[in-house]
Symmetry: C2
Subunit: 188 residues, 2 copies
DNA sequence: CAGATCCTGTACTTTTTGGTACAGGTTGAA
DNA sequence: TTCAACCTGTACCAAAAAGTACAGGATCTG
């Protein structure tokens, strides 16, 4: 039988693509097989508990990316202005190259809502808190920093929705640009 | 055979509730039957083409509500400050009483994405354009008005996501409150 | 009260679903 | 070269899915 030298991370990546394109609930095993190019045997080899395992693996991978490329830099930064710019650039590039879909946001809808509620909450809390702490270091009060961080993340997420609705991606880039500008304006 | 005097608008309302709670894709006919209290016979009587018809009917009803309660008042308003406040109040009340879910936003994800792309786009375009026109009447430039309208709608939509993720609804109210404040600040 | 229309439950068919079993090829280490 | 661990396709299964058919009760018109 053929062998494709498939590593688990590759499988997870392919799965993420399918979930972003079709949504988690409506990605049936047959669709996944076909679109990700992974046979049923391999799927259950890598993810013994089926779709639930697949979703968890995909979410973990996304989270790891954000942890490394967004949250950690935000926490480590000393220059708030530079860190805010770096964050918006990283995030904008990420979502534009991934169908303008945030899988964590998608997980706040649908059947599995409850199953992943903790992971989803942790993702957003980490993001908002890391940004808020940075803004605080940049001179904002605790409350002001937290509100501005929430508004920024909400703006980005809403930007993804509008961009998908409009069917372009300039809408998203425009909105994230202004989110960044608003943040920078608060850093005197 | 029993008779429940079910009118179509009632059925649509019940359907909307199910779709908001479980998501469109994972609402099977049996789930709908059970949760909406509508038998299979009635379902196919009112919606001959199955789930697709149901989704369209629900979307139409939501759209009609926004048209009457949000878009039209926005277009008719002469007092921009008052109209902005009325909009945020109406929208906040609406989503809080409906599981913090925007069905049009949900439709930018998943399998039926393409099927309803036009309706979804029209909903957001109408909202953004009505608000932008109002802001322009309030003294903003064309471009400035459009950008602020986009940012406001994005903020509201992102607020819904964050509120669902956080599992409270004060997050949403806080975000919409600041969206309103930011809009009012632009109206000199 | 007669008759047409409308609404609804039940039972049914067909297709698709997620999940299992497993044989057999591939690979890497000894 | 041998052997175990690993990966993968195929065939299969039970359950659940969407959708159909239809009889018959409810309702309204006149």
């Amino acid at each position: 039988m053929p062998r494709t030298l498939l590593e688990r991370p590759d499988a997870v990546r392919a799965l993420a693509g399918v979930f972003r394109r079709r949504g988690f609930e409506s990605s049936s095993l047959s669709v996944i097989q076909q679109e990700a190019g992974i046979g049923r045997g391999s799927l259950y080899h890598f993810f013994p508990n089926g779709k639930k395992d697949m979703a968890r693996a995909v979410l973990d991978q996304v989270r790891a990316w954000f942890e490394d490329e967004v949250f950690a830099p935000l926490r480590a930064a000393t220059d708030a202005v530079e860190a805010v710019s770096a964050m918006t650039k990283a995030v904008a590039d990420y979502f534009v190259s991934r169908e303008n879909v945030c899988l964590f946001a998608a997980m706040t809808l649908g059947e599995e809502k409850e199953t992943f509620a903790d992971e989803v909450k942790a993702y957003f809390v980490d993001w908002v808190d890391a940004l808020a702490a940075l803004l605080q270091r940049g001179g904002l009060t605790l409350e002001d920093a937290h509100e501005n961080a929430l508004d920024a993340v909400a703006g980005i997420q809403g930007g993804l929705i509008l961009t998908r609705a409009y069917g372009d991606e300039s809408t998203f880039l425009g909105i994230t640009g202004r989110v960044e500008r608003r943040l920078l304006a608060r850093l005197s």
